[in-house]
Symmetry: C2
């Protein structure tokens, strides 16, 4: 529990490699995660090759961790392998639909988090790249993912070469609800978000970007409606191309 | 690492309760999981009330764990709280789209797996109910989830009153790919799935269901095309109703 309490994302890694033996042990143990019908609807693509990192880097908006980490792992929702199994066993697979995508994406994300816990327990540092679903189509091209395989998460992995301060979290009561969902009043919002808004680094962000509020940093700069809508279209197009929606 | 290696889903629980104090400690620690832009795009609904469990039970196909566990947790993708924050801070939120749903679903699933690891480390038993996205619309009604909130995972939680055998897993090499995806040959499929097919309990399933192969158990009985396609339509309808797609 202590290592999870003290966790922080690591973006700078030592030159030291992560051995195949250790990586395999962690992935094998991570696969104890719960999975739909014990089908393990995922694949993990391991990137160590420098030229492959060069190709992946722009798909993650050139975040320096991709080229800076010894290992990059791309966790994919995968109904291809199960479908191949069915086709070779006189069974008619019906997994080219949205529900099956969500089942496989869930399996892949649970595996991913299980892996992260195990890796951090061993002293490794990881950074989760949320950019994976933004540019899924390009990642599919680079990693040569077939039909019924879609990348849903990327982890950069290595031995930590930094110890950044821990980021804040909202208070527990802001995200738990007893029995039914209690919608938020303005007073609730003020109570839950004021500590975050008062952090010097967040006030600094607001100031240097000439914004009035921290929320505007998110809506106007980091996660804009325009970008979200364009990437939604692209992601649905990817699901179509990979056979998960019509 | 050892408790993950030895994990198994627990479906029978002792009468003993799980204290609010322990549950809160676990949820608070679980929230150290990585999250998009540190926005924590999730909510957790805690069900302890017997009548609420009665209402939830059919949404999970009356699996006995729902009424048998002291605590049921529903993990939800939640862009409602963040949207309320933006609206109260002169910011224009653009999170009523599919990409935002996937971002929030990812956050909720990572939180869920982090929670499971912490709970199992404390000796608690959990069972992951994949049925959540099958009947999301009914769960939304029971838990009174507002727009931009969708349930993505449910956990039943309690002190174990059984120690079932561990289930099998595919060999590691079946789901990792070096650098690029190597599609499966028939020989690969045979190699990876034969041990599973040879298990006495799986051979028994095939026999009592009058099937020829284990894969047919999945395609013809457990996860049929017809059910998957109907539930895909229902899930997309839920995303529309909750404001995540048009």
């Amino acid at each position: 529990m202590e290592y999870i309490k003290n966790r922080r994302s690591i973006r700078k890694y030592k030159c030291e490699d992560v051995s195949t033996e250790l990586l395999n042990e962690l992935l094998e143990t991570a696969a104890r995660a719960q999975t739909m019908g014990n089908l393990q609807l995922y694949s993990v693509i391991v990137t160590r090759d420098e030229s492959m990192k060069e190709h992946l880097s722009p798909t993650h908006f050139n975040q320096p961790m991709v080229k800076g980490a010894p290992v990059v792992l791309t966790f994919c929702a995968d109904f291809n392998r199960t479908t191949q199994w069915c086709l070779n066993r006189q069974a008619d697979p019906g997994y080219d639909n949205f529900l099956s995508f969500m089942n496989a994406a869930s399996d892949a994300l649970l595996l991913c988090q299980n892996f992260c816990n195990l890796a951090e327990e061993k002293g490794l540092g990881i950074c989760y790249l949320g950019t994976t679903i933004y540019n899924a189509g390009k990642i599919i091209d680079v990693l040569k993912l077939p039909r019924l395989v879609v990348p849903v998460a990327t982890i950069t992995l290595g031995w930590p070469d930094e110890c950044p301060p821990q980021t804040d979290r909202l208070p527990l009561k802001s995200f738990i609800h007893e029995e039914t969902y209690q919608d938020y009043t303005l007073a609730d919002i003020d109570c839950y978000y004021s500590p975050k808004e008062a952090l010097p680094e967040n006030q600094h962000f607001v100031e240097i970007n000439n914004k009035q509020t921290l929320a505007q940093i998110f809506t106007d700069i980091r996660y804009t409606r325009q970008a979200n809508e364009a990437m939604s279209v692209a992601l649905l197009e990817v699901l179509k191309r990979q056979g998960f929606i019509e």
